[in-house]
Subunit: 398 residues, 2 copies
């Protein structure tokens, strides 16, 4: 059989676990804290239906939706990104700074195609987002993990690793991080942007959860502090509009944007126009802000219920993150429990999570007694039932 | 400024010309034979509108459209591909053989990520599809062109280059080729599949125009003759449903498909579900076959008008292809006319085309007196006016 490319050798292990999880999640009896989906009750189905019914007709936009489009993205949607998503964060952009892409993973893929050669080092948080690691591995990058604490990346450790590994890039989810739920402090955001400038390396800031804030004060993105064009800001519409629409955006300097345009064209021509038009209209009709409020209310309740359960049902020595937003919390069980081994028993008891081990890469020790719990797409009632099941499994393993 | 990856050095030249063409096509006064778009009059706008109005509601499919989906694609759409597109070509597939992707270029990108390391050789036709070359260059592949004649690839030349370059892959558009409009003969299809098996290299068969046949008899794809799993069949919905929907598919053996699933996941998670559902419903409601008939009628008339114009307006020594389908013809002007230089004058006269030089790569001489004319998205009236303009420009250059 014809030999596969070298990049495929890097992909093996992760894909297996992801498949297993994906399959366990399709059993309707299983309560899964495993996926990263937002609440299905919070999807804007009626709004999209109304927009589609009114817009996908034989007028200008209906035709436009079905014909070829601009690799940079629909101007209306770029404008919505500029005015409704970037400006409120203190980020000032023009159309030439914004590229519409096919979701969050694609934004990572395109940026890394632009910067990473095989063997290049990318620093990541420990723990970090497993699908991002897959995206980096496909480009044969070497992921090196840096220490984190409750305020995010420990910058002394980052700087030491910059000196040791000469990385091309640092990947960071500063707000309601996946998988930990933690948020990077203001001071560290500023300092990380400065590290990018000082060492001439790119900060890849991935911020898909930032709008889902349920408590606390919003912080400016790392990109806000970038004086030299070393931070690339990427985001997704998956949590604030729809995962199935596959939309995201990249905000960066114009010269970098022009290069990303070439990469996008040669990777998949352009992002699908049907959902770009639906999403642009969603913003232009003023539907986004009330929708976001509703999304946050739904998820806030789920977070609060999960926090109650963690406090009341799990062993007293359990440590967990109280996230101010997003979809995840990170649980560290007492003792030597191996959450990977325990998952088989959990799935047998019809409850699923992602074992902590999946989120660790080279550079930091793997912590086998941790797990990520995602509460976004689990109703409050099911959170309680699922946590009872999980508590039972944990008790039997302690 | 942080250094870009090596792959970016391969991309420069092509992108410039594509940008220039793209810009010239946006002037509404210019009649452009430059793009590769199907007739806007042939887009199924009413059908899509009706489907969207009925399906994107708060029932199962409306929710499904907006939530995360399977990286392999929507089962309904894969089934439509199997029954309505593959079976009529004599290709027998199950769901495990079909992966839904985000359009034709993405299908090339995913397949080449699976097989090509930097520096690997991929054989292509001469002339060949310019955006495919970009996709291959982004993966740092080396494109080597093989001779073609009126029946497609000259297989003696292909075999000589296999021995010379040890390629990993051969890229071919066998039906109504882009840019030439030519169709590979039955015997050569069979023989090319056998070459793949004999030399253990992959045949990447790209067949986006095959359904757009206006005259002559349909031929089985190369994949039909593949006994050993060395042919990968990729196709797009851009010409038979909608370019803006960004949908395509890959048909291959199950073990290869599993690997492509990993590549797809790490590149952009999955293809957007909104248009997958709209397209699946388009097939399931029986709308595809009558739509295709109408698409072919519209394009057949345009082809016939263009052939009339080529015969009656251009110099007698002009050679051109009479395509049995698709969207393109290939014109070779008499004498030493440089169609790249002439394009500036043509655009000044409000008519555009793609200069032949763009379609040639290493391995075969570039033919500067050629051009690709695309008639898909030009009305018959505009074809006549545009060809008069073009004939005037050519006369002034001879």
């Amino acid at each position: 059989m014809t030999r596969f490319a070298r990049r495929m050798a890097h992909m093996q292990a992760t894909a297996e676990v992801v498949r297993y999880l994906f399959e366990s999640m399709t059993d309707p009896q299983t309560i899964s804290f495993g996926g990263g989906a937002p609440a299905r009750e919070a999807l804007p189905v009626e709004q999209v239906h109304e927009i589609a019914s009114e817009v996908l007709t034989r007028d200008r936009r209906g035709m436009q939706a079905l014909q070829y489009g601009n690799p940079a993205g629909l101007p209306d949607l770029r404008q919505a990104v500029i005015e409704r998503l970037l400006a409120p964060k203190g980020l000032h952009a023009s159309q030439e700074n914004v590229l519409i892409v096919g979701g969050g993973i694609e934004s990572l893929n395109l940026v890394c195609q632009l910067y990473l050669d095989p063997g290049d080092v990318i620093l990541v948080e420990s723990p970090t987002f497993v699908h991002a690691v897959q995206a980096f591995q496909l480009l044969e990058a070497r992921c090196i993990a840096c220490q984190t604490d409750e305020h995010g990346l420990v910058l002394e450790d980052v700087e030491a690793r910059i000196r040791q590994y000469s990385p091309k890039m640092i990947y960071v989810i500063p707000t309601f991080q996946n998988p930990s739920g933690r948020t990077m402090s203001l001071e560290r955001r500023r300092a990380l942007a400065e590290l990018g400038s000082r060492y001439d390396l790119m900060i890849l800031e991935d911020d898909p959860y930032c709008e889902l804030r349920y408590s606390g004060e919003a912080l400016p993105p790392i990109k806000f502090f970038d004086q030299t064009g070393h931070t690339l800001y990427v985001n997704s519409f998956s949590k604030i509009f729809s995962p199935g629409a596959r939309l995201g955006y990249i905000f960066t300097e114009e010269n970098i944007q022009r290069k990303l345009y070439e990469v996008k064209t040669a990777t998949n021509s352009h992002t699908n126009l049907v959902t770009q038009i639906l999403c642009a209209e969603f913003f232009n009709r003023g539907l986004f802000e009330p929708h976001l409020q509703r999304v946050c209310e739904i998820h806030r309740e789920r977070r609060d219920v999960l926090m109650d359960c963690l406090q009341s049902m799990l062993p007293a020595q359990t440590r967990y993150v109280h996230p101010d937003g997003g979809l995840f919390t990170w649980v560290e069980l007492p003792g030597q429990v191996d959450t990977t081994a325990m998952l088989v028993e959990a799935v047998a008891q019809k409850v699923a999570y992602v074992p902590g081990r999946e989120f660790f890469v080279e550079g930091q020790p793997s912590r086998n007694n941790c797990m990520r719990l995602s509460y976004g797409n689990v109703t409050p009632e099911k959170i309680r039932v699922g946590m009872q099941r999980l508590a039972g499994v944990i008790d039997s393993w302690l």
